[in-house]
């Protein structure tokens, strides 16, 4: 226990959006080397929690605390959280017309490394990661997410993660919109990224991604609460039985990991 290194931990986090509380006291710690999955039905607050942790201005954390590598992130802007090592793969990545993937990626990496940092390795790195994820090089010069299919967008999200090498990656429904081959490549990408020094939080409605990316812990979210936690077997059970049998008796419980 004592040699575990907490990377992302949050405690009793409440999130409000449009004046409505959609996350109602969630507690979790992700240690270095761990993969967690939060599963739950649509509308249970998974994306709201993810957006709030990344610092989206519309998703306010109204109560609780959150730490990245021991530092409180609540007063940090999204870009500071990113540079501190947090990453969110969006459920719905946005299109930025006129901005090429390469140019954007370069700016993002530059901002992580610092304004004056050497970027001479960028092209090589970028190409290597595109190859690994089976992304055609033409995407480098296409405008970010503009006209991309659902699956292409998700791959580009994983590409960004691979390039930025965050300490903690929250992956929000990264499996949705992927056919089986794409799912496998994306899962490989996640597994290649994962090591003893980083942590992953998979946010998903379905367990199919979990066939390829093995979580150490699975948590069930319902109506803004984590209502049950367990090992990977919990995901399979959810797959079999749906979410209804998980009832709210454990509501508000602190999840031990």
């Amino acid at each position: 226990m004592s040699d575990k290194k907490p990377l992302l931990s949050f405690n009793d986090v409440h999130v409000e959006v449009e004046g409505k509380e959609v996350v109602r006291g969630v507690t979790l710690t992700i240690n270095a080397g761990e993969t967690h999955a939060i599963m739950g039905p649509n509308g249970s607050g998974k994306s709201s929690l993810s957006q709030a942790l990344m610092g989206h201005p519309s998703y306010a954390i109204t109560r609780g605390e959150a730490f990245l590598k021991g530092e409180s992130i609540l007063d940090m802007d999204p870009d500071e959280r990113s540079r501190a090592g947090l990453f969110l793969a969006f459920q719905y990545p946005l299109a930025i017309p006129g901005v090429t993937v390469a140019n954007f990626m370069r700016s993002a990496l530059q901002s992580h490394r610092g304004k004056d940092a050497d970027m001479s390795d960028f092209r090589k790195l970028f190409k290597a990661e595109m190859n690994a994820l089976g992304i055609d090089h033409v995407f480098a010069t296409r405008y970010l997410n503009e006209g991309f299919s659902g699956g292409e967008k998700k791959r580009i999200e994983i590409l960004q993660m691979a390039m930025l090498q965050p300490s903690v990656a929250i992956l929000d429904e990264t499996d949705s919109g992927l056919d089986i081959d794409a799912l496998k490549t994306v899962a490989e990408g996640i597994n290649r990224f994962h090591n003893d020094n980083n942590g992953i939080l998979l946010v998903t409605h379905y367990q199919r991604l979990l066939n390829y990316v093995k979580p150490d812990y699975v948590h069930v979210m319902k109506a803004g609460h984590l209502v049950k936690s367990g090992g990977p077997e919990l995901a399979l059970e959810l797959e079999d039985r749906g979410y209804d049998w998980v009832v709210g008796e454990e509501e508000n419980q602190k999840v031990e990991v």
Binding site: F90, I96, G98, F122
Partner: protein
């Protein structure tokens, strides 16, 4: 974007200076001739005398002055700002030096330094076929590559053009934009000085761009350059124009007239990047005539100035002629960019495309004012108009005034207008990748401009991105 562009962009962003230090400086010049303020027939006569012009040109000037005096100030655009112009306060003619330079060494040190700072000699070495550098009223430096001269390409300043090719100028001057077209065209015709005269002989392709740079240095200076470009049958030419001025507390006036004539099967592209200081009134008339199967393209970028009113126009008078106008405007604090485009289809099977992009920031205002006209005889013609406005901040303003006059029903007309804001969601997406909010906004704006930027030669694309960055930082003026 290639690495080369990015590298240059990086280099440029190291410069860490703003408009005031980069363009806003002014030189203490010992003018060869500095006239008096105000305009009169005496001033007009003096200009004509100093230039040793033929009498017919002097007469055109005097007549134009009468037209200017009799024409009311336009009652559209920004009438409030237009009415603030004090014509008596302006210097209409300043001759910086007695003799034009053929090499940069011939140009006085202080003027050469100005153009050095603006990067003109560097660009000349690297990728231009010819350069003309105008300082106040006259061109102080001029050069053209020898191979182009040998092919019969004429690229002169307008004064020299009139001396050396009076017949051509007499034939075409004022035929595209008549003296009485509008008040500012009349003013230009009365006091014009400098500008470019280009003639490309039949079938000659000027593969490298020709460039002119216009610099206003003195306070209350009026710059009235006059440009005439003629592409003869099957000829091709790309002309680039750049403009800057220092920052003064009182206003200056820039009122150019540009006439393009694209004869059968020819091609003219005219690229402008204007980046005026914020006290400049920029009131310019630009118009082209495209003959049978000819193509004219205006690529027109407007930054800076207090008020810009400019609507590049293409008259498609020959069957199969094509026109394209790509215009961007950036209106920052206290600026009004009233820009737009006009296409007039007066022959069958003609086609045109207008793409207008504007950005308004702070309390800046960008207007699109357009005319698309199809005459009765212009059967089978096509017009497409696309206007895109981006607003940054709550006080920014954008308006669209499109006019369509369609007198033939066998035509295709498309019009699209969009206004968007830099969306919170886009900003969040980009900042969540580590970009600061300013960088994210700049990236979005540069992306918005991309359809324009990618039409520019590399060096200008880099420069434009840099200028937009300065505008976004609000460090200009």
């Amino acid at each position: 974007m290639t690495d080369a562009v990015q590298r240059q962009k990086d280099d440029l962003s190291q410069l860490n200076n703003d408009y005031a230090t980069r363009y806003g400086f002014h030189d203490p010049v010992d003018y060869f001739h500095k006239g008096a303020r105000g305009i009169s027939h005496e001033v007009v006569e003096m200009i004509s005398k100093m230039k040793n012009e033929p009498r017919w040109m002097a007469e055109i000037r005097h007549h134009a002055l009468d037209v200017f005096n009799s024409k009311p100030t336009p009652r559209w655009g920004n009438t409030k700002l237009l009415n603030e112009i004090v014509y008596e306060n302006i210097y209409y003619f300043m001759k910086p030096i007695e003799q034009q330079g053929k090499s940069w060494d011939d140009v006085p040190e202080y003027i050469r330094r100005t153009f050095d700072k603006l990067g003109i000699p560097e660009a000349e070495k690297n990728f231009l076929g010819g350069v003309s550098a105008q300082y106040e009223s006259e061109v102080v430096y001029h050069s053209m590559r020898e191979d182009l001269t040998k092919k019969g390409v004429v690229f002169l300043d307008m004064d020299a053009g009139l001396r050396e090719y009076p017949e051509i100028i007499k034939k075409y001057f004022g035929t595209v934009i008549p003296t009485d077209d509008n008040k500012f065209a009349a003013l230009n015709t009365a006091v014009w000085s400098g500008g470019s005269f280009i003639y490309v002989p039949p079938g000659v392709d000027v593969a490298v761009p020709l460039q002119a740079y216009f610099r206003i240095n003195a306070e209350n200076m009026g710059q009235f350059e006059r440009t005439l470009i003629i592409a003869d049958k099957g000829a091709r030419v790309h002309y680039i124009e750049g403009c800057t001025a220092p920052v003064y507390s009182t206003d200056s006036l820039h009122s150019a007239v540009v006439e393009l004539i694209a004869l059968e099967d020819s091609y003219i592209r005219y690229t402008t990047i204007q980046n005026w200081a914020r006290n400049i009134y920029n009131l310019v008339t630009k118009r082209a005539t495209a003959h049978k199967n000819a193509t004219v393209e205006w690529v027109d970028g407007n930054l800076g100035s207090r008020l810009t009113m400019k609507y590049p126009c293409i008259q498609l008078v020959g069957e199969g002629a094509r026109g394209e106008i790509l215009s961007v405007a950036f209106a920052g604090q206290d600026q009004h960019q009233d820009a737009g485009a006009k296409v007039i289809h007066a022959a069958p099977n003609t086609s045109s495309r207008i793409t207008s992009k504007s950005i308004s920031k702070d309390n800046g205002r960008a207007s699109y004012r357009g005319l698309a006209k199809i005459h009765k005889n212009a059967t089978n013609s096509k017009i497409s108009v696309e206007c895109d406005a981006l607003l940054i901040g709550e006080d920014a303003r954008s308006d669209t005034y499109p006019t369509m006059e369609i007198d033939n029903d066998q035509v295709r007309v498309e019009h699209e207008a969009r206004v968007s804001k830099v969306a919170e969601e886009q900003l969040f997406y980009l900042t969540s990748r580590g970009l600061t909010e300013d960088d994210a906004r700049l990236l979005i704006v540069n992306g918005f401009m991309e359809p324009f930027t990618k039409e520019l030669p590399l060096e200008y694309a880099v420069e434009l991105n840099r200028l937009i960055e300065l505008e976004m930082e609000g460090s200009i003026g």
